[in-house]
């Protein structure tokens, strides 16, 4: 592994971890502060000023920015499967922190999503690792 490849790899993993964690906890705080229903168009705005919702939105902004940063060098078809591990973490957060009842069908569906993600990740070597120093293919 060349130093350039190693640099790109660790940069990619750190950035991907930030993307996933910001997404999972952003969603958690959003749900935590959310009222049972948004009745009027105005409610969509005022809800943003609830403290938990505001924290969730802040984390989702971190998610958006870190994701844009990651996409500046990584393929979308690489970023999507790696960061979709967040779907699983969200289920655990829903179960343990929000006391949601998750049926066996829902767990099975989440496991299928994990299997799909693993399969996609085991596919061809992502173009991402080839970096920008080599030929653009």
């Amino acid at each position: 592994m060349t130093p350039e490849t190693a640099r790109l790899r660790s940069k990619t993993w750190i950035c991907a971890a930030i993307v996933v964690l910001a997404n999972v906890f952003g969603n958690f705080f959003l749900k935590r502060g959310m009222p049972p229903a948004l009745e009027s168009p105005l409610a969509y705005i005022t809800v943003l000023f609830r403290p938990w919702v505001a924290l969730g939105v802040t984390l989702l902004i971190v998610w958006l920015l870190s994701r844009m940063t990651l996409l500046s060098w990584a393929d979308l078809s690489y970023v999507l499967p790696v960061t979709s591990v967040g779907y699983v973490l969200v289920a655990f957060v829903g179960r343990w922190l929000l006391d949601e009842r998750i049926t066996s069908k829902r767990w099975a569906g989440i496991l299928l999503i994990v299997a799909g993600v693993a399969l996609v990740g085991g596919g061809s070597a992502p173009r991402t690792w080839r970096g920008k120093s080599g030929a653009h293919s």
């Binding site: 969603n27 958690f28 959003l30 749900k31 959310m34 009222p35 049972p36 229903a37 948004l38 969509y44 809800v47 989702l60 958006l64 994701r67 844009m68 940063t69 996409l71 500046s72 060098w73 393929d75 979308l76 078809s77 999507l80 499967p81 979709s84 967040g86 779907y87 969200v90 289920a91 957060v93 829903g94 179960r95 929000l98 949601e100 998750i102 069908k105 829902r106 099975a108 569906g109 989440i110 496991l111 299928l112 999503i113 994990v114 299997a115 799909g116 993600v117 693993a118 399969l119 996609v120 990740g121 085991g122 596919g123 061809s124 173009r127 920008k132």
Partner: protein, 120 residues
């Protein structure tokens, strides 16, 4: 109402992410993480019409998602929107011209089945 919101979320997220990938690739790799350099990158990106389009699409998706999250479980709302992943793999292949092999298609199909189960 639930499925209408989900359709809006899936469509606007997929469009937004493809525009984001196009815009960021046009910008080039971000290598300098000093705050001043990031600020310069942000001000260049704020004038990139493709990036602006992606932000608008993401905003539509976000408010539709707020509406959905208000009356559904987090463990329903988040997995069900994973269907965007399948739409985006198709768009990555045909719009962004990225290479998508058989294993990736199989993975996308499994994700789709998983989403179907979650929504039962």
């Amino acid at each position: 109402m639930k499925w209408l919101l989900i359709a809006i979320i899936v469509a606007s997220t997929s469009v937004g992410e493809v525009l984001q990938a196009v815009g960021m690739r046009r910008h080039g790799e971000i290598r300098d993480f000093r705050p001043s350099a990031l600020g310069r990158a942000a001000s260049v990106l704020a004038r990139n019409s493709v990036v602006i389009g992606s932000v608008v699409a993401m905003a539509v998706s976000f408010f539709a998602y707020l509406g959905l999250l208000a009356f559904t479980d987090l463990s329903f709302a988040v997995p069900v929107t994973a269907v965007t992943y399948v739409v985006e793999t198709v768009l990555a292949k045909y719009v962004l011209k990225e290479r998508v092999n058989g294993l990736r298609w199989a993975g996308a199909a499994l994700v789709l089945c998983g989403v179907a189960l979650v929504s039962l």
